[in-house]
Each structure stands twice: as structure tokens, then as C-alpha cells.
Amino acid sequence: MTDEMQTLLDRRLREAIRHLPEKEPPPDFTARVMTELEPRPASAWARFRMWLSRPIRITVTPARLAPVLVCTVAALLVGGWFGMRSTPHTAPSMHAATLPVTFVLRQSAPEVRSVAVIGSFNDWNADGYEMLYDASGKAWVLRAQLPPGDHEYVFLVNGDRVMPDPGAALTRNDGFGNRNSVLFVNPTNGQTL
């Protein structure tokens, strides 16, 4: 075989290898592999970070609340008095610097009894961020005011299950295998979901 012929043949062989016929793996292959995986214990550092970022639920009883309320009212009175004396004008309120944002979760499953939005803007605390069910739109809705910038959030379903926003354009890894939805609040264009 001449060098020229061998070069031609090698080129054809390389092409044939590139287009070597392949078969699809069984449709349940991934599921089979995943069911066999043993959980790997996370490192101590990873567990510590997970503990730090976990949402905290605090139960308050009237007996515990009374001294806190007394201290808070006293602090407000003292602070207000000093504030009136030292600052004749008021700082812009948080509300004035915020922009309207609407969270929507299209979910009409009967097992979903409550949904709230928790995120970086409310310290992952659902209080005051409960969504209302809109029967006509078959969706859970919350209208809120948020400062400009990017915010991470998830939906808290039935008080104990978190899920990212299926309608969010962008998600971000929380460092522990879960994804948070990302919301950009733009001062010029408002909400960008």
C-alpha cells in the first residue's frame, strides 16, 4: 500500500470511529444507579455551614414575651427621645427605598396547605411573608417590597418543605446540594424574575 493510500485509509478509519454506532442505555439506567448510592457523610465543616444556614423557627410564649416587650418599648422610647433631640429630619424609610415584587407559585395540589417565601431579605423567616391562594389563578401569590439588588429565596411549603421557585430564571447553589432561586430587583426596571 502506498503512503498516499494509507493516509486516505487512515482518514476513513478515523471518520468511521468518530461515527461508530452506539446504542442507548436502558431507560431506567440512571434510576438504577441512583438507588444504589449510599449517602456519603458530609464533613464536619460542611455540617457546620449547613447548621448556620438552616432556617430557625422560634416558639414564643406570653411569659417569655413580656420581658422582651418591656425592654423593647423602653428602648424605643429612649431612642426616640434622643433621636428627636439630635436629628431634626428623618432618614429615608426602608419602604421608600424598596420596589414592588410579586412572588407567584402556580400550585393547586390539595396537599399544599400553606406557602411562604423565605430568603436572604427576611433572614429565611416566613413571618409576614405568607402567600395567599388565588383560586381563580390557581396560584399562591405574595406581593412584597424589596430593596434593589439580588436576593436568594425559596418557597416554604406546609411549614416544613422548601422548594426553589419553578418560575425563576436563575438558581444558585446554597453550598449544600440545594438550590435557591435568585431574584434581581432592578431600580430602573423593577422586578426581574
Binding site: 500500500m1 502506498t2 493510500m5 494509507q6 486516505l8 485509509l9 487512515d10 476513513r12 478509519l13 478515523r14 468511521a16 470511529i17 468518530r18 461515527h19 461508530l20 454506532p21 452506539e22 446504542k23 442507548e24 442505555p25 436502558p26 439506567f29 440512571t30 438504577r32 444507579v33 441512583m34 444504589e36 448510592l37 449510599e38 449517602p39 456519603r40 457523610p41 458530609a42 464533613s43 460542611a46 455540617r47 447553589n173 453550598g175 449544600f176 446540594g177 440545594n178
Partner: protein, 184 residues
């Protein structure tokens, strides 16, 4: 971008989230399964061996070095699963190795058209399965998966010059098969 997503998935698995491994399985199940199919020639066994390869990769994930490509690393593990299977079957994966110098200089210019007609997918697949594992997969890694010679060397646990030799000899063997077939 793709590699950073893979690196992220690997980090997630190492932090204790096995679900993150699913992305890697979905992405590479096809080439790994076909590697097994070329080795065992049976779809059921190929699926079992491919599963074994992924489970072994999952177990060894802590040894994966950041900055490297995941696929060549996975391929190396899959090749080891193939070798273990061949050993269990009592087939030495190296018994077919031939000295490249003895490979025939067969073939003629007039036979090329006949040869081209023989290079269809089925015949190519058959010809490839007749090659020894290390040579066959060196060719696949080089020309189908487009691994670098360094990546092939790492997957086969040989030197870079050894990898070049494997590819070259693999082509020699393949050429011989087709030119002999053309003589029939």
C-alpha cells in the same frame, strides 16, 4: 461552563448530597454503557458493568483531582471495570496484542472502493470489537471522544508516548482487518 457545573456537582456529592451525582450519570451513561457493550457484547451485562463503573466512581470521588476533566477520569475507572470482568471471564485483555512490525502491509489502491463500502457502521463495530481492549479504547478515546494524548495516557495508566503508540498500533490492526477483508 459545563466543566464548572460538573465540578459543582462533584463538590455537592462530597458534601453529602448523593442526588448531585445524577447529573454526571445522565451525561455520561451513554459512552460508558457503549464501552461495556463493546467489551461484553451483551446489553444486560453491559448495563450491569456500566452501573458498577458509576458506583465505583462514586466511591472514589474523593480522589478526583480538581481542575481535571471528569470524563477521562470516569473512563479510566470504567476501563478497570472492563479489565476486571475480562479477568473474571478468564480472558487476558492483552492476549491479542500483536507486534505492529508484524502487521501486514496488505491492501492495494484498486481495493479502496471495495474497502470504503465495507466501512459501514455494523462492520466497523465488529472490527472494533475484535481489537484488544486497550487498543480499541485508545482509538475511541482519541477519535470519538477527542481526548488528548495525555488524557488517554492517564486513562490507560501508561506514558504519553505509550498512548501515541497504542493509537498508532490500533489503527494498524484496524487497517489490517479491513484490508484482509477486502482481499476475500
Amino acid at each position: 461552563m459545563e466543566e464548572s457545573r460538573e465540578a459543582e456537582a462533584i463538590r455537592d456529592v462530597l458534601r453529602g448530597n448523593p442526588r448531585a451525582f445524577e447529573m454526571l450519570v445522565r451525561k455520561y451513561e451513554r459512552p460508558v454503557y457503549n464501552l461495556m457493550l463493546r467489551t461484553v457484547g451483551n446489553e444486560g451485562h453491559a448495563a450491569d458493568l456500566a452501573q458498577e463503573a458509576f458506583l465505583r466512581a462514586y466511591e472514589k470521588l474523593g480522589t478526583f483531582r480538581n481542575g481535571k476533566r471528569f470524563f477521562p477520569w470516569l473512563y479510566a475507572i470504567s476501563l478497570n471495570v472492563c479489565r476486571d470482568w475480562l479477568r473474571r471471564q478468564g480472558r487476558d485483555p492483552h492476549v491479542y496484542v500483536e507486534d505492529a512490525n508484524r502487521l501486514a502491509e496488505a491492501g492495494a489502491a484498486s481495493q479502496q472502493d471495495t474497502l470504503q463500502s465495507r466501512l459501514d457502521g455494523r462492520r466497523m463495530f465488529d472490527a472494533m470489537t475484535k481489537l484488544p481492549l486497550a487498543y480499541r479504547e485508545a482509538l475511541v478515546m482519541r477519535f470519538r471522544e477527542e481526548f488528548s494524548m495525555r488524557e488517554i495516557a492517564q486513562a490507560l495508566d501508561i506514558s504519553v508516548s505509550g498512548a501515541k503508540m497504542r493509537v498508532s498500533r490500533g489503527l494498524d490492526m484496524l487497517r489490517k482487518q479491513f484490508t484482509e477483508a477486502s482481499d476475500d
